[in-house]
């Protein structure tokens, strides 16, 4: 992992892998969407609106996963001073925020016909909203603080404090009475939904995660280029 954290080594490994990862993401997305929109049955109670689950749930999983990546990278930056750890955390944030927004927005769109309300302040929805605020706060730190080391130090703290919210999101439906339904896939005793619905959901979940990997590695390569261009610009200014 220390070797991979070297920018040159990272690029040597990531560049040839990226086209394959993008291709895998697109194939998985196409397969997942076919299952979600064509083969999966309508729900006996919710009817066709259950199809919102195939984008809402994977987006929520990915929003939590991306925050986990951010917090892990921030911890690595503190403990091991990996040269790429802060950059890895920084570029994961906008991707995670986008998927967090998708989870919140598609949840609202699903909630209106099923609950009769776009939004309720129950524990699951509120904790996801707090996750979105942590994403925005983390991004704001990088935008607002110009000096890299100072921004990285503050951002690490925000990422690690916000990580406390991840188990709260996951277990909110167990710890409190919520309008949001409890877990039906990752729970004790195994999934409680039909296999016809489960496989498209799992494929979409995998597709979103592989897409995250493709986006994250591309954004990290881009961040390395940006830092190199910044150093070159400083070199140009110094040489004049």
């Amino acid at each position: 992992m220390h070797n991979f954290a070297n920018p040159t080594r990272f690029l040597a490994i990531a560049n040839p892998l990226l086209p394959w990862i993008w291709a895998a993401a697109l194939i998985l997305l196409a397969t997942g969407l076919y299952g979600a929109l064509v083969t999966a049955p309508a729900d006996y109670q919710q009817g066709e609106t259950v199809r919102i689950m195939y984008v809402h749930v994977p987006a929520a999983w990915l929003a939590l996963f991306a925050y986990g990546v951010m917090a892990f990278a921030s911890a690595m930056a503190i403990i091991f001073r990996h040269p790429l750890a802060d950059a890895a955390a920084k570029v994961a944030a906008p991707i995670g925020a986008a998927f967090c927004f998708i989870a919140l927005a598609t949840g609202a769109i699903w909630g209106k016909p099923m609950w009769g309300a776009w939004w309720v302040w129950d524990a699951r929805l509120t904790s996801m909203f707090v996750l979105m605020l942590f994403y925005l706060g983390y991004i704001a730190v990088w935008q607002a603080v110009e000096e890299w080391d100072m921004a990285a130090t503050i951002a690490r703290v925000v990422a690690l404090v916000g990580a406390i919210n991840i188990p709260i999101v996951k277990f909110s439906v167990d710890w409190w009475n919520t309008l949001h339904q409890p877990a039906s896939v990752f729970k004790m005793g195994g999934p409680s939904i039909s296999n016809d619905m489960l496989w498209p959901l799992m494929v979409m979940g995998l597709a979103f995660n592989v897409l995250f990997l493709a986006l994250h590695l591309t954004a990290l390569r881009s961040e390395i280029a940006a830092r190199k261009l910044h150093r070159l610009h400083m070199h140009d200014v110094g040489a004049q």
């Binding site: 066709e48 609106t49 987006a59 991707i95 998708i102 986006l215 280029a225 190199k228």
Partner: protein, 52 residues
């Protein structure tokens, strides 16, 4: 999928929103990556330092 079902508009809206956000994210990241790679390449072509 039954396009005549009640509430089908909510399903279409959810997928359209997801496609717009994911598509926008992919485009933004790819275009930024390409622009920075082009800038490094431009420096290399111009004989400026490009590997600092």
């Amino acid at each position: 999928m039954d396009f005549s079902a009640t509430h089908i508009g909510f399903v279409i809206a959810a997928y359209a929103l997801t496609a717009a956000v994911v598509g926008g994210l992919i485009l933004a990241i790819l275009m930024t990556d390409r622009a920075r790679a082009r800038e490094l390449d431009r420096r290399k072509q111009a004989g400026l330092p490009h590997d600092h």
